[in-house]
């Protein structure tokens, strides 16, 4: 049962730290730093389901985040729905969208699948830029009134933060659940050798479609919450290809396949970028440093941090998953 796995409790502890640490002293600056870390962890964890578990490289992952942001924000502002409901409905709609497209593109393998995901990302961005109800290229702006249902802007941002931490915890728990289930075993089999898996009775088409769709849900929910906090959304910030790529970098750094890997990679990468940006000497070179780090990891430590940890402390595998 999930409650037996030590890592489940570790996830809850991490979430508790995220929630209570900035509360101490009403530390908004820390909360701002942590929320970016949380988003990084959410994106990396859900991406892990496709890349780490199933072996399918999704380059256009950010499309779920952006589309969720648009859908949720539309419901919450133009339609006046409750924020949590809007986020959940956005999640469901985007998952269905993923299922639809997934069925078409998941028959592709390797690099072709990766390219198809890029194509979908660009096509969706182009579509949204032409879509009138969502503001076309100007996007949608939130008026400060929109924060009133949650008690005004300051209060609303704390609530949004707590919700995002909840989504982060759910992402990690989801990864943990899948990893320790029969469904997850099927995914690993597909990753190792898809044809052999099919022969052995794994319904690859269905499994892939399900996991692709599932991996879209929580990023879409997070998208609604983040853009609500941001106060506006437009196509250029909702569908940033760079964010998609950064998700993959984070996975590699932390160690793809491990639940903690996605979390660690997300946390470390985001923290590193933030520090570099605010450092006076190094901020010009943040791209170079990030690129150099990635190259070193790919060439010399492809298992990432968790891969290295598992090698030197094999028992860690059972505790830190």
């Amino acid at each position: 049962m999930i409650l037996r796995r030590p890592f489940f409790w570790i996830i809850l502890i991490i979430a508790a730290v995220f929630i209570y640490w900035p509360l101490h002293g009403d530390n908004v600056a820390l909360r701002e730093d942590l929320i970016l870390v949380a988003i990084a962890v959410i994106l990396a964890s859900n991406l892990n389901l496709m890349i780490g578990y199933t072996g399918y490289v999704n380059f256009g992952h950010i499309v779920f985040y952006g589309l969720g942001g648009y859908m949720g924000l539309y419901l919450a502002t133009v339609r006046g729905w409750n924020l949590i409901l809007s986020a959940l409905v956005a999640g469901v709609v985007v998952s269905l969208f993923a299922l639809l497209f997934g069925l078409a593109i998941l028959r592709l393998r390797g690099a072709y699948f990766a390219l198809a995901t890029i194509g979908i990302l660009q096509a969706v961005q182009a579509f949204v830029s032409n879509f009138d109800p969502w503001g076309r290229s100007t996007g949608m702006y939130l008026s400060f009134d929109n924060y009133q249902p949650l008690g005004g802007a300051m209060h609303a941002l704390w609530i949004t933060y707590d919700l995002i931490i909840a989504v982060m915890a759910l992402s990690m728990i989801l990864s943990l659940l899948v990893k320790n289930s029969k469904f997850g075993l099927g995914l690993f089999a597909i990753r190792e050798d898809e044809d052999a898996a099919v022969v052995l009775g794994v319904n690859a088409t269905v499994y892939k479609a399900i996991i692709y769709s599932v991996s879209a849900f929580l990023p879409a929910v997070a998208g609604t919450l983040m853009f609500y906090k941001n106060g506006m959304i437009d196509p250029s910030i909702a569908f940033e290809f760079m964010m998609s790529l950064e998700g993959i970098v984070m996975l590699m750094l932390g160690g793809q396949g491990a639940v903690m890997g996605a979390a660690l990679g997300g946390g470390l990468y985001e923290t590193l970028r933030s520090r570099l940006l605010t450092s006076t000497t190094l901020s010009e070179f943040h791209l170079v440093i990030a690129g150099g780090l990635l190259l070193l990891v790919v060439l010399f430590a492809p298992g990432g941090l968790m891969g290295w940890l598992y090698r030197i402390v094999p028992r860690a595998r059972t505790v830190i998953e």
Binding site: I105, L115, G119, Q122, A123, S137, I248, L287, G291
Partner: protein, 287 residues
């Protein structure tokens, strides 16, 4: 000269350059099954390369393509040994990430040196006017240069020893090794040529509009679309696919708002990937 015809001709001219830009990507992918994510940054370096030589020797920009091509070859060898050699044959994720890492490094250094100020290569050739429509000399020259280079590449691949070695490695690396071909040397050369092609297309493009260090992204995406449409490993096919893509843009534009073009192109891209696995001309590498 009707508007639609003029638009189609303009589309063909632009498409030839898209095709040239895609050739390098297609070659590298076909030979070593590596999706080169440095492609966009190499195109940009070609733009800056042309800018530098043009500022130094203010002469015919098309003659200056040669030193840029040469520099591209050298750069390709460096990038190959820095990031690519070690990931050839390993999972697709590795090569994607290592080339992406190099891309970040190049863009980072480029921004530090050149910032994101637009740069210009001010070399203009007279155009050809038919009725109310004029076709700019730079576009015509770029299309001609692209075609010449594509033909030269085709000759190289089919009528020289090295070219045949490259094709052999592309078909079956192990068999080629057994035949005594040094695959490492061949892969290095093939990658270098791919980079040189990317750089050269950048150099040509630099005569068409002002560019910044970030201008490669758009061309990289176009190259993906063209390469998929053409199928892998047949560089000349990339040129034709590029021309067809440009032609398509030229045919559609007179009738609908241009802001819909990216949606149509990427929609087509996804459909082509899913429905036409062989591309228009080429083979699919093993998945």
């Amino acid at each position: 000269m009707s508007g639609v015809l003029a638009s189609m001709i303009d589309g063909v001219l632009v498409g030839a350059v898209y095709g040239l830009a895609a050739m390098g990507l297609s070659l590298i992918w076909g030979v070593m099954d590596v999706i080169n994510l440095t492609h966009g940054s190499m195109i940009v370096l070609g733009m800056f390369g042309m800018y530098l030589v043009f500022s130094a020797f203010v002469t015919n920009a098309y003659v200056l393509l040669l030193p840029v091509m040469g520099a591209g070859l050298l750069l390709g060898i460096v990038v190959y040994w820095m990031a690519v050699h070690w990931v050839v044959g390993r999972s697709i994720l590795m090569s994607l990430l290592s080339t992406f890492a190099v891309n970040m490094i190049v863009i980072g250094i480029g921004t530090a040196i050149w910032t994101t100020t637009p740069y210009n290569v001010s070399y203009t050739l007279p155009g050809i006017t038919l009725g109310a429509y004029t076709f700019t000399g730079n576009h015509i020259a770029a299309a001609i240069a692209a075609t010449v280079i594509a033909l030269a590449l085709q000759l190289f691949l089919y009528h020289t020893r090295t070219g045949k070695a490259i094709r052999a490695v592309s078909d079956n690396r192990d068999a080629a090794e057994l035949m005594g071909i040094s695959t490492t040397a061949v892969l290095t050369i093939a990658f270098a040529i791919g980079i040189a092609l990317a750089g050269t297309s950048g150099a040509l493009v630099s005569t068409l509009f002002p560019f910044t260090i970030l201008s490669g992204a758009v061309y990289q995406l176009k190259s993906f679309v063209v390469t998929i449409l053409a199928g892998l490993g047949k560089p000349f096919g990339a040129l034709v696919a590029g021309v067809l893509l440009g032609l398509l843009e030229g045919v559609i534009t007179p009738f609908i708002a241009v802001s819909w073009i990216p949606l149509i192109e990427f929609g087509l891209f996804v459909v082509a990937l899913v429905a036409f696995p062989q591309g228009i001309f080429g083979k699919r590498a093993a998945a």
